[in-house]
Amino acid sequence: MTSLLDSMLVMVLVLNLFALGSSRLRAVIQVVALQGALLGVMPLVVHQHISPAAAGVSLATVLLKAIVIPTMLMRALREAQIKREVEPLIGLLPSMILGAAATGFAMVFASGLPLADEHTAALLVPASLATVLVGFILLITRTKAISQVIGYLVLENGIFLFGMLLVEAMPLVVEMGVLLDLFVGVFVICIIVNHINRAFASLDTRRLAELKE
């Protein structure tokens, strides 16, 4: 079981690096969708016995993270007629190296944490920390509103991974609530993206510092 989980986590980490290194917004959205799908299936792998509730959460996660949100983002991308390139503040290669360094840091840091015995061997904690850090890097280095949404999604994926540790204890309501929050957040941001676009003819968040009538 753990080996399957570990390979899935490695895939998540690899997708992190892809999200940092790819220059097309569309590709980045697809990468995040794939990551969401992986995360959705993961509770089923972690659980020894699959309850209907867990299966429901898993299904809802896959539906939301892999299908609904990416579709919304793609729509926003199309409607706002954004240029397809990512245009990060620092180059793609430095951000990838930064992401790799963050992953390494997460590993070192996680090995120093006083974890419960059943969590020390698995990659879950380092992977979640690394994903959160990569989300931060995406948020900091990308200037377009829509790529910041993507950074936010990756960040949330990291937190979701961390929640996987508590998968036995976390009640269903909390998980559904988190998913709802995420959905509403992205929904609102997609509307805002449209408005920013109409007001400024650009999605560069740096320009939001300027006052405008």
């Binding site: 080996s3 570990d6 390979s7 690096l17 790799a100 590993m107 990659l123």
Partner: protein, 302 residues
């Protein structure tokens, strides 16, 4: 003994077929009928019957390079075991010999390109060496992971390790190494995201531009060596990707050949669905391969 014979036979005969399969896959994706699967054999045979044109500025290096290129890649092919069978040549530390046999082939190809004195070929040589600087560390990091996994310093021991250690235990680093090796394969064999083997625009070429001045049998040797290199690196990758053993020897050989042809189809698909990267983006891809392999190693020593 039979296994040795089959190993040599496959190594000598099969490689051009891989190029044929790649070309056929690309043609099918483009909705064309494409050249027949055996076209590359005919091409090589045709080139062997032609005369050689030698520029007066070239020296013996120009003639030696294709020969050295072919022989070194062939020797490297002897070090790599095919399927679950032992390699014809194997000793502790042959990993390094393997990497530098490929390095020697590259050195002679670039030396021959410089030997012609043509600025175009010099440019191609510079590009080839630049990208090799990034591909080689990635290859060594991949080997490092395998050495750490198997505890063996010979290529045969390393590559058979995924067979014995029940791949499920250490699947995570192997996944990373497989990704890294696939990128190395694409870069070393000049396939599409890095280099386009069909292009005739000098400004975008890497490998093709270095061999522009070679003709006749010399060019045939280069073509054959290129397919051999694809075969050798593909075999290397298959050990990490499909560490399976069927049982009876005949079945294992059949499985191995099928896997190899499948890999050629995958390469063809990658070439069909991807565009060539901009020249300045190629180092990103290779650095990513290096990062993946380094990351696999970090997972192992964690």
């Amino acid at each position: 003994m039979t296994n040795l014979g089959i190993h040599l036979g496959l190594l000598l005969v099969l490689p051009p077929l891989l190029l044929g399969v790649i070309n056929k896959t690309k043609a099918l994706f483009a909705g064309r009928q494409g050249p027949p699967l055996l076209q590359v054999y005919w091409d090589i045979a045709k080139l062997m019957h032609k005369g050689i044109v030698l520029s007066s500025t070239t020296s013996w290096v120009f003639v030696a390079a294709p020969v050295v290129g072919l022989v070194t890649v062939f020797l490297a092919g002897l070090l790599v075991p095919q399927g679950p069978f032992p390699a014809p040549l194997s000793f502790a530390g042959d990993v390094i010999l393997f990497a530098y046999l490929l390095g020697l082939a590259r050195f002679f190809t670039t030396a021959a390109a410089l030997d012609t004195g043509s600025p175009f070929e010099g440019m191609g040589a510079a590009r080839e060496v630049t990208f090799a600087c990034l591909a080689e560390p990635a290859l060594f990091l991949a080997f490092l992971v395998l050495v750490r996994l198997s505890g063996s310093l010979s290529l045969a021991g390393m590559l058979h390790a995924p067979l014995t250690i029940s791949a499920t235990v250490e699947a995570a680093p192997l996944v990373l190494v497989a990704i890294g090796l696939f990128v190395i394969l694409l870069a070393e064999c000049c396939r599409i995201p890095v280099d386009d083997p069909n292009t005739h625009l000098e400004l975008t070429m890497i490998h093709e531009v270095m061999v522009l001045d070679h003709s006749g049998p010399l060019f045939g040797l280069i073509l054959y060596a290129a397919s051999l290199k694809l075969f050798v690196l593909g075999t290397l990758l298959l050990h990490v990707l499909f560490p399976f053993q069927a049982g009876p020897a005949a079945l294992d050989w059949a499985l191995y050949v099928l896997e190899l042809l499948g890999l050629a189809v995958v390469v063809g698909i990658v070439e069909s669905v991807m565009a060539r990267l901009q020249m300045r983006h190629v180092p990103y891809l290779l650095t990513a391969a290096m990062l993946f392999c380094a990351f696999g190693f970090a997972l192992l020593i964690r």
